[in-house]
Symmetry: C2
Subunit: 329 residues, 2 copies
Amino acid sequence: MTTLKDISRETLLSLSTVSAVIGGRAKKLAISEKTVRKVLECAERLDYHPDLSARTLRCSKSRIVGLLMPNLKVEFWQNMILDLQREIRKYEGYIVLSALWDTEETIRKCMDELLCRKVDAIITSHAPLLPENLFLPVAAYDREPSAKYDTVLYGKKEALEKCLEYALSLGHRKIALAGDAEGDGNALFLKLASKYAVTPFVGEIPEKKAILDGSFYYRNTAVLGSGKDDTPTFVISLNNLTTLNLLKRASEQKKRVPEDLSLLAIDDSSVYPFLTPAISTFVRAEEGFPSLLLETLFRRMAQKDLPLQRIVPRGKLLERSSCTSCRKR
Amino acid sequence: MTTLKDISRETLLSLSTVSAVIGGRAKKLAISEKTVRKVLECAERLDYHPDLSARTLRCSKSRIVGLLMPNLKVEFWQNMILDLQREIRKYEGYIVLSALWDTEETIRKCMDELLCRKVDAIITSHAPLLPENLFLPVAAYDREPSAKYDTVLYGKKEALEKCLEYALSLGHRKIALAGDAEGDGNALFLKLASKYAVTPFVGEIPEKKAILDGSFYYRNTAVLGSGKDDTPTFVISLNNLTTLNLLKRASEQKKRVPEDLSLLAIDDSSVYPFLTPAISTFVRAEEGFPSLLLETLFRRMAQKDLPLQRIVPRGKLLERSSCTSCRKR
DNA sequence: CTGAAAGCGCTTACAG
DNA sequence: CTGAAAGCGCTTACAG
């Protein structure tokens, strides 16, 4: 394996000089263009790859961002993780190292992994589970702002507001929310509903800590009512599986979407454009949560004494074909 | 940050002893139980995390497996990447570092990243793009066996055979294949069809290198025919977007699935159980491609002079509700 | 620009 | 079991 020493020997230049050129410190040390070229050419020729573990050891900076998240088989989450790995390319030299846990018992192990690899900073969806004495910059993705770390917020309230406004603008007054697995969505929705003077329908909340099996996604479409009694004309869906099941339930009730029932999803799914009808969505973070998290984190890394950041995502509506104006009844 | 030296000072034991205990070499060096406990307790108390970059530097082994793949927004692929990160937990001490490229131009950069981080081995879907002089163990996921590296094969031929056999067992004779973006699926299918004496229908192959936009997934459902003329009774779908569009096309033609048309997908999707009808699938790798790749790779790492491995995945049929026996016509 | 040297945290071989 | 020492590949401060 080629090392700096090899290049130094080959070019007859000193180790310091070679290191400076490779490390991009040629300008500062006033090293001649010719020397720089000579070093670079030689590095190329010998297929030199700097040993970052040596650099990490020496500088106690790894240029690794640790990602501490659950490994959920959920489209939104998978995109979150993979987009983070994509977006970090904007930050030259940095990589993300994911430590994804399957069960809460392994979180500690995931954390240790990151610590042993000497990550420079952490992005996590579970900041409260971080060790007390953590000295690293952290960007948290969370429902509530953390008291200790910079937080990018879910933006659920803002999303629900926009969805309600959109429904209202189409003339709907009977509006349902489906797919809330945590309970906070429903609570938020009920509060907003009274403010906007709409009739709210909310789904059942699963038992605390119950596993969300397939049946949940179907059961919680009961917000559509039985078809006979009072029934919403507009549903907001909180996840892609619920959306699919709303479509199924509607079809069983011989309701056409969007003629009889408008359907608006929160956040996008790769599958939505291909459904019949194509599903309109409100995307919570136009820029993408991964970008927001990375920006927040690198801002902190650049300036340690920055006041605590609290980022509310800016969303956007993606109109496709699943919503229409409310017909007179 | 706690180091071995801190523990050595604290426990009044020598650096060598502490290192041996932490490194799990206590047995070999006949270090007493009491000493071991003392070291471990102290490490725990001081919240010690071994610096793996130092260990990597010293031992020239990083215990990192590099993952070199495209960052595709495709469910199958996302699962591949994330499941690999999940599965590696079985291999104590190892982690995967993903280098995912967006465009082919960045492959080189991804490769360099892995090399600089001193990965011990590589898993990739694009082994032919690896540098000539690569000295690392490689597990390739590929259509054809590599001449140089261990390969886990796609298993497309085996999958198509099983799908055909299943269709035949249900009495179908007019069978279509949809969703082939590369052309090799169709060719394979046509060859098999003659062997099994079925009437094959295949979809159009997109222009070489054409971007697969949404329209492709719909256009290639034309295998269903116009509804008037000769038409298949059983369709095999090669990806989830095609499956969705087959459902859409069938409904436009007033064909019911599975009564008028059986639909069998290759590989599973999180969305299939929630569709109407729930989609039956043939899963190419029962054990999962990630497991297969990891097993193949670690077998190689354990034994460098192993003969070249060529793994054909063993698949399984997942019956749900989208296939039924062929009605008399 | 150069050269010599120290040191990051670890493992390992060696003499005791 | 211990202690002293070397060395992995790098960066950095320093004297020239």
